[in-house]
Amino acid sequence: MAATAPPAAPTPPLHERLLRIWETPPGLFGILGTVDHKKIGKRYLVTAFAFMLAGGLEAAVMRAQLTAPNQRLLSPETYNQLFSMHGITMIFLYASPILSGFSNYIWPLMLGSRDMAFPRLNALSYWLFLFSGLFIYSSFLVGQAPDRGWFAYAPLTEGAFSPGLHMDFYALGLLFLTVSTTVGAINFIVTLFKLRAPGMSINRLPIFIWGTLTTSFAVLFAMPSLTAACIMLYFDRRFGMHFFDAAGGGHPLLWQHLFWIFGHPWVYIVVLPAMGIMSDMIPTFCRRPLVGYTFVALATVSTGILGFGVWVHHMFATGLPDLSTDFFSAASMVITIPSAVAVFAWLATIWHGRPVLRTPFLFAAGFIVLFVIGGVSGVATAAVPFDRQLTDTYFVVAHLHYVLVGINVFPVIAGFYYWLPKMTGRMLNERLGRWNFWTMFLGFNLGFFPMHIAGLLGMPRRIYTYPAGLGWGTVNLVTSIGAYVFAVGVVLFLVNVLWSIRRGPPAGPNPWDAPTLEWATTSPPPAYNFEVLPSIGSRHPLWEDRLAEGAARSVLDRGPALDEGRETLGITPLDAEPSEILTMPEDSLYPFLLALSLLVTFYGLLTSVWALAIAGGVLVLAMTVGWLWPGPEPEAA
């Protein structure tokens, strides 16, 4: 069969028809079964932010313990679980999922599509994320949270040195989460290949898209390394295997290689989309296109690629031959060039633009400064001999927070100020926003800059207490104070969001007069995103008439309506010519049930109740078959 798709214009009846087709039915089925990328995106954002609060709370408690020497607030057991869960939560359950949340919500709107390529897989990856997070956190209920740090070096994690379930929660929880991340990555890539608006050739993609795209590819290549490592860890612990056990012919460094082959790409995975958010937002607030679009796009991709070639810089003290450490030192310095390119692209955009000092821009400006501070401390640690002094001290803790908070948290908060009006239809409070920025920015620097000094004063990381008389007291006191100021900033943000949802002024479709496609539809967007599917003639669809870039024009008010069912337009990956009409799946409970079955499996593996694990596995199989059956068109799964 085939369908005609004549260009139509928006009309009330069409709106009604599309709503009936796309809207999720209310009620339990709707809640558990929806495949709407906007609903899923919002869930990602809320869940990831909740995890951020949990991780932050853990940190807040740690800071109380470290405020002064020889404190007895926390037992070493408790402290070790707190700092480990803090790292695991922030890295795995906050930093990456929060960006998936933005991508999920924004991508189809930015690309001019009606949903992601695989809406049901999209729902699946959310449920998997939620359940794996709850799985890991359920360790607190039995008082056996992971306690070996977020990179869990063997053999400290082996059964002999880590009895109990602590590290089984870690190994299995991360395996569980990996499935979610991988599914999500595949979804983003295919969405980009097939579901862009006609005419959106790759040189017209917003940088945010480039960021998430690079990240998604990096996930496909990096994640399996963690998967392999966690499987081996679980096997060592449960079945007495010897992967990391020197006595049995294994080697502890195998874990370190596998972990960091994953780990370093991962740290770029959790920032490239965030840098993309900045690269798209800064031009909006500087009232001009980004300077050096092509440079920045290339910088994004090359960072993603180079990120695979630096992992050994986490292992400079392990006694590797100088030749190899030198190589990875050099690589770590080369990788700063793309970052430098991006930084100066932003600086030039600000310099040659007319910066509008609204809250999102404040966060963007702060982000640039924090990025550079974190970046240069990274370069310091890349210098092998100096790193052998810096490594495993608070200097590294300072570095990782400047980059993670600077290039992830700040862009994320900026992203909320920028896009929440699109999601809720209401603005946030500007004055409160400015207070929010300054408390976070000043609090952060007050709290984390002294960590550099603590490190230079010789303070190791991961110590639950420290003796008096080494001169570490003052810096730690200041750090704790700053941390709490920062926390207040986070609370101010929450207050602002609540205020905006309650009585924020209506936003209208494009409150920032931004150039990209997501601002062409109403705020909040209807279930079907676009009444008629747009086609793109330039990089800035909503600025075209004012920038006069080339002859091509985007068409937003006329286009295929595709109102014969859940349908959207499929294109050819490279030149973005329409190639097919994609039928999109209806809401379904299968994603939820499949994730639930997997949860059963993992609890089976955790408790060694193999019957449970197998039962879960059978359920997974059944759900998958049910999901795809009979579907004469499995490609719409």
């Binding site: 040195f161 300077v291 030039a348 509008v356 000092l357 550079v372 370069v379 210098a383 495993d392 080494l470």
Partner: protein
Amino acid sequence: MLQSPTYLRTFGPIGDRVAALGWSLLIISSVVVLVVSVLVLAGVWRRGTRSFAPVERAGGGLRWIVIGGIVVPTVILVVVFVLTMVTQAAVASPATAPGLTVRVTGHQWWWEVQYLDPSPDRIATTANEIHIPVGRPVRIEVAAGDVIHSFWVPELAGKTDLIPGQTNVTWVQADHPGVYRGQCAEYCGLQHAKMAMSVVAEPPAAFDEWLARQRQPAAPPSEPDLKAGAAVFAGSACALCHTIRGTMAVGRIGPDLTHLAGRRTIAAGTLPNTRGYLAGWIANPQALKPGTVMPAVPLESTELQVLITYLQSLN
């Protein structure tokens, strides 16, 4: 002893070279941060507004990227990399071959220290306190007894990990007499925080004397209460885990106590080696270092007193 063990104020050839590298990196970094921050502020201050100006494509700005983003950083980074390589080559090995090898084995959560010697009976074993001769390079062989630890004396040299299944080699040299604090720098479990040690640099003559003493077995107890103390030690669990050379106690689980009294601290740099702390430690180690492998051994207070007297006589 009471000021911070910072690696920017160092007392040996490795530390000195690395500190120089460190200072230059910190200065370069500060300049970069300063420049970028100024550019951000200037950009905002120059044309910043509160209202949305009309959109326009003003100015090229590509020069910013080429110069600020590619050319300048490349130059700086080449310099940094050269500095790095030069420093690394300089600290790779000592000017003169070390005449002395110390084998440091990490245990949860203390350091076993052995002064190697071709003839086994001349090997001196101690714990948590490494003596070295001033001005002479010392070869350090590090190994792990259980999990990964990291050997680190900030004022002398950077870290070298102690990894099960492999022996890493490094070296240290102190050019000034003194006591340099060291601490385990790889998370190794519950008491990673209290796994410190010290390096005592003393004039060669004094050092040789010290090493000679360490090689000796413990002097047999003379006075009655020393005898009593020795009996308590031999009779209780102590002997199962600790060695006192020259006695029947040959345990290997805990530190060698043959010359305990000569050490400045106990429990891996956690407590000063005084009668009071010694008594407190033995009476209840878990209270002072929760989770330590050493259990509280039930003893009559009189037994405890003679035991302490005995331990304090081991010198």
